[in-house]
Symmetry: C2
Subunit: 364 residues, 2 copies
């Protein structure tokens, strides 16, 4: 990598080079401002197929440069479809060779949760910046290891919190920050859906680390955190299971409430057994605002006590990718950094602890 | 009273008399089908002034027959305004004399919560049916005493759950019962408002028994109970206080979740420190339905995953009064009986217990 970086330093503009000498964030030989950053997609499941690959094609600053898959069929099909030559197609076993692939700047990890830590660390060691899907990992210990690995290699780490770049969410953050509706008192938030195939990895504890809470409850948790701009202090939670066979290993439904330092209390819920819960609402001294639906890939809407607000719909994965590319170019940490991902996992661990202990717990 | 009842039996129709011989529910000498039942209003505060008295004037089966107040000014003003003669105006001290007032069939108690038990018991002992505002009382022990007193005197007792007779709520109960949206999995419900005058009785523990939970949280609790048709099994709750001076004696904000035998989990919240939280939403296998606003005196609306439902707006207090009159006429217990009021207080006690113990508790 050092060879590539040196070579690169001789070719890029002074402004960009200044960034690099501060942080050394560029990994590829061709990572100039006018070049799209190359993304290696790790895990070619449904999300990669239906959301991320189409989004990548629409980004300004990224392009699909490599694929990592355990399936020779997918390797061929994706390679042919997206024009990715054999040198940029990797099996999981051969993944570490990506270190020598200068076409790859970013490794985007779209694997089962239990594999996030391993592949983030391997990608960082290969000298790549890492965009890792949420939830960041199965435990805060893994999160810490991921952060440390990226810091050690001077690589950027971002978590796939697509909502944080979505115009309606950004507008809600602005309403919260400006106290347009007064000081916030309360937030209600929830996200759930009826999960299908009982054999999928999301229902296996070892792979998913948890159920609805890890997968979609995290959106409600995120919303409460970015609306308040605070970390929860205490949490109280309760779990229900109506289908103990399907949900033998992971949580089906959880409700929890979190207290924030400013006094805001948030009531949240998540589930894998019904559709339609996809919202948040924040109540201030002067009125309320929120979104419903809030966390969909498209069609999200703002409702307030003063009426509706409709903003442009964007490709959330594309925006997330472009924002990360800008962070790399501008040599600054992402707003959805590993630290941000860790904070959610700490709150999630507290929620599970509260369920287990049947009591109010602190978020440590 | 026996004399009156005997006299009455000679005048009413056979059908109604059949009811009376079973239960002996009529108290007044003139309580025939075509006579409006006389209501004594106990406590002439804001609710009586702005809601109940105007509602009474619109009822089919009731009329304002007497007033009970501690204020000589109110006694005169109300007496003059509603044509209530001096014989039907009572001070609290003289209240028990209402036993001899055959114009009064129903005593409607609109007093601070701590006085509900005393006046219900005194009214029952005076041979009157009792309609008591919610919350039924400050403790389940008081509720049990109220139920016992009314049973002993063979008087009907109903609690002022106006929503249970409101068309949108009735429609939602029907949607729940018919499983039109499939089996329910989850309910979110909340009711809160910014309470004004810091000197009012609602903020005094001795008078109110509790704060937002007792006063408006009970609507969210009720909604969860009548949507599921079940009693909560376990409860977990958390409290926040942003103004410890104003809310020194009672709860300002509480969030809680309740688990029901069918597996439904309900996330609820209530507050005295912000406006706009006035809703419930129930999620089933096939879709969701709910109301927002849900608990207002007027303007309540149904929203579902299939669209909006708008029904007639009714005078909720008037409907509640007429329904109680019909129960008395038809010699059957009210759907919002003392037992129903007790069930809410048992759940409320569990919520306060959970807050105190910082743990999950059973609803006993």
């Amino acid at each position: 990598m050092n060879a590539s970086r040196r070579e690169f330093l001789t070719t890029v503009s002074a402004g960009v080079a200044a960034g690099i000498t501060q942080g050394g964030f560029f990994s590829g030989a061709h990572a100039a401002e006018d070049r799209k950053l190359g993304v290696a997609l790790v895990g070619l499941g449904s999300l990669s197929t239906h959301q991320i690959a189409p989004a990548l094609a629409k980004t300004q600053h990224c392009r699909l440069a490599a694929i990592v898959t355990g399936s020779p069929e997918k390797e061929k099909a994706w390679g042919d479809k997206y024009g990715i030559g054999p040198d940029h197609r990797y099996s999981y076993e051969a993944f570490d060779k990506i270190a020598g692939d200068d076409s790859v700047d970013i490794v985007y990890i779209v694997l089962p949760n239990s594999m996030h830590a391993e592949y983030t660390i391997r990608a960082a060691k290969a000298g790549k910046h890492v965009l890792c899907e949420k939830p960041m990992a199965n435990s805060s210990a893994e999160c810490n290891a991921m952060i440390a690995a990226c810091q050690q290699m001077n690589r950027l780490l971002a978590i796939g919190y697509r909502c944080q770049f979505e115009p309606h969410h950004l507008k809600c953050m602005e309403i919260a920050r400006s106290q347009e509706m007064g000081k916030l008192s309360r937030i209600d938030a929830g996200f759930g859906f009826t999960i299908g195939d009982p054999k999928q990895w999301r229902l296996r504890h070892q792979l998913a680390g948890g159920g609805a809470l890890m997968d979609v409850g995290i959106y409600a948790l995120q919303a409460c955190r970015y609306l308040t701009g605070e970390e929860p202090v205490s949490v109280i939670a309760q779990e229900t299971k109506t289908d103990p066979i399907k949900f033998a290993e992971v949580d089906e439904s959880i409700t929890w409430s979190m207290k924030f330092p400013s006094g805001v209390i948030a009531t949240c819920s998540t589930s894998y057994n019904f559709n339609g819960l996809n919202r948040f609402r924040a109540y201030g001294e002067k009125g309320w605002f929120g979104m419903d639906p809030a966390y969909s890939y498209e069609g999200n809407r703002i409702e307030t006590s003063n009426g509706k607000i409709e903003l442009a719909q964007v490709d959330q994965f594309g925006t997330e990718l472009d924002e990360f590319a800008k962070c790399i170019r501008e040599n600054r940490p992402s707003r959805v950094s590993g630290q941000e991902g860790l904070k959610d996992i700490l709150a999630i661990e507290a929620i599970y602890r509260s369920i287990q202990q049947r009591s109010l717990v602190s978020v440590s």
